[in-house]
């Protein structure tokens, strides 16, 4: 079984987000980049599937050379091969297009992406890939078991869970539940050493049509100061919420 794990490189969750060039560009100065948290669950799941079923794992990201450290990290966690498509993504469509193009020229059974990336939060790339390749798409996937080429999956829906059966090839938008937080793999010394000898291939990109364009950023309006209420006067809180804020 050939598994492709699509990962994106995002600012560490503790990062303060700032913008430069008159608020038109994300300011990566001083920001630590990590594997998108949703993708980490998918990557660990892929490693488990490999341990159980002799799968081969390719990790892929679309980006400029600055994203290679997260690919090396994924190799250290257990992927066999890494691919970087040399293109700085400008929107979901152009990113999906590059990935779909690569998948088309390869043979993957299971394509694992994250349900969204924690920087732009558009959550559109995996669904677009599904459509371009005409394969099933399971979004917000929080459980996956494999029997031959039959897959049993669960996905989160508004207010519950749906149980699904389908056949490969498929693409999922993964999240927690694929594996638990406590199961997430962290690179060990041996992994880091062998990662250095694993292949990292750079593929040139083609056709860069973007359907949308990010034009500027702003920070959410700063909150006014917090009104402190005495713990012995909870009636005041209720009156405030009812009469002033009018939210209860």
């Amino acid at each position: 079984m050939n598994i492709l794990v699509c990962i994106s490189s995002v600012p560490d969750t503790t990062s303060k987000i700032n913008f430069t060039d008159n608020n038109t560009k994300f300011d990566s100065n001083g920001v630590q980049f990590v594997i998108n948290p949703y993708d980490e669950f998918g990557l660990t799941k892929a490693v488990f599937l490999k341990e159980e079923n002799q799968a081969s794992i390719t990790v892929l990201t679309v980006g400029d050379p600055s994203v290679e450290p997260i690919l090396r990290k994924a190799l250290a966690i257990g992927a066999d091969k890494a691919i970087r498509i040399n293109y700085s993504p400008t929107d979901s469509y152009s990113t999906a297009y590059q990935i779909a193009n690569h998948i088309n020229s390869s043979e993957y059974d299971l394509i694992i992406a994250g349900k969204e990336s924690s920087d732009y939060n558009n959550g559109a790339v995996p669904g677009m890939i599904a459509d371009m390749l005409e394969i099933p798409f399971i979004n917000a996937c929080n459980g996956l078991t494999l029997e031959g080429n039959n897959l049993k999956l669960t996905r989160e829906i508004d207010g519950g869970i749906e149980n699904i059966q389908t056949k490969t090839p498929i693409i999922i938008g993964g999240q927690k539940g694929l594996v638990e937080e406590s199961e997430l793999k962290i690179p060990n010394m041996r992994g880091i050493m062998t990662a250095r000898t694993k292949p990292l291939e750079v593929i040139e990109s083609s056709d860069h049509t973007s359907l949308t364009e990010s034009i500027s950023f702003e920070k959410p309006a700063a909150k006014g100061s917090c009104k402190m209420i005495d713990e012995n006067n909870i009636n005041e809180l209720v009156q405030e919420l009812h009469n002033v804020a009018k939210v209860i």
Binding site: T13, S118, M128, G159, L211, F217, C226, A245
Partner: protein, 316 residues
């Protein structure tokens, strides 16, 4: 030419998020001088379909034999109706996230999700959206003539238009590429993405057995319950309640945080709430920097008092 809305239904009924999408589309349609046409799948009564007119849908195409779980077929149907539509509007639910990207790819129409602004300039449509897990607001321009728009739930007012919605029923059937073998629905629970009030609790509650008062408070407020990440990681509460940067992003009118420290990753997913209340024993808890109202105190004393005060407000 019309503006298309995907009118999502749950067990034959529409919810507020669907009406928000219709209202949003109607608002645009007045600028573009077009009509709003809804598309809906699943078995829905005529009486329920008519309700789409209240918020400005002039017509609805209903597909009773198609399941909303079949994202591929729903996307194909929307595409057929949307050939000449400038905008296709969704509310940003899980279901929409399975369909909207496919519609975008099929039509080669730019997709913008988590939208929090109305259409302003029709010649060069720019929409503001939540980005960087709500740490930033991003303005995005469409490079295409058509746009697939997914609006953030609980971010837009409903406005009543009282139109008579014309119903067409289509008996089309399709074959899904997914075989749905079962569903587990959290019965009677209010979904987090749509809740107007959320009562959320963290590690300060000490153990799962202490959630009774949280559920009681949520109950009397008609609120949904949520929790911080460690609480779901240790299994005190289900993962579906985890809010924050790596859980669900929520935007209720009122978010009450009880025994939650207010870590940056937690705040990222909740700071779009209109009003936030923090209850915490530690006066230095970071949550007090983000909250609108704060109570320094022990949750085990403050929450029961809060329940009593709300009950007496309700009784007056």
């Amino acid at each position: 030419m019309s503006i298309i809305v995907y009118a999502e239904s749950w067990e034959g009924k529409f919810r507020k998020s669907t009406y928000e999408a219709v209202s949003y589309a109607k608002n645009m349609s007045e600028i573009l001088q077009q009509e709003v046409k809804s598309i809906t799948v699943g078995d829905i009564s005529e009486e329920e379909l008519k309700k789409l007119g209240i918020y400005g849908s002039s017509s609805v195409e209903s597909y009773p034999n198609i399941s909303k779980s079949d994202g591929k077929s729903v996307a194909e149907i929307i595409k057929e109706h949307a050939q000449n539509s400038k905008f296709i509007v969704f509310s940003n639910t899980f279901n929409a996230k399975s369909i909207a990207p496919r519609v975008s790819a099929k039509l080669k129409a730019g997709i913008i999700t988590n939208i929090i602004s109305n259409l302003e300039n029709n010649n060069e449509p720019v929409f503001k959206r939540q980005s960087f897990s709500s740490k930033a607001i991003e303005a995005v321009k469409l490079n295409t003539n058509q746009g697939v728009l997914s609006i953030a739930p609980n971010s837009f007012e409903l406005s009543e238009k009282q139109l008579d919605c014309k119903i067409s029923v289509n008996q089309k059937t399709t074959e899904s590429d997914l075989n749905i073998i079962g569903k587990d629905i959290n019965k009677g629970k209010i979904s987090l993405s749509e809740a107007e009030v959320i009562v959320s609790a963290g590690r300060g509650l000490k153990g799962p057995e202490n959630w009774n008062m949280i559920e009681e408070l949520a109950d009397i407020l008609g609120a949904a319950t949520a929790c911080s990440k460690p609480v779901s990681d240790i299994g005190w509460r289900p993962h579906s309640e985890h809010v924050g940067q790596t859980g669900k992003a929520v935007a209720p009118n009122l978010y009450i945080a009880i025994g939650i420290s207010g870590a940056i990753q937690h705040l990222a997913g909740v700071n779009s709430s209109k009003v936030m209340v923090a209850i915490n024993t530690d006066p230095e808890a970071p949550f007090f920097k983000a909250a609108d109202y704060g109570v320094v105190g022990d949750a085990f004393e403050v929450v029961p008092k809060l329940i009593e005060e709300i009950k007496s407000l309700r009784n007056n």
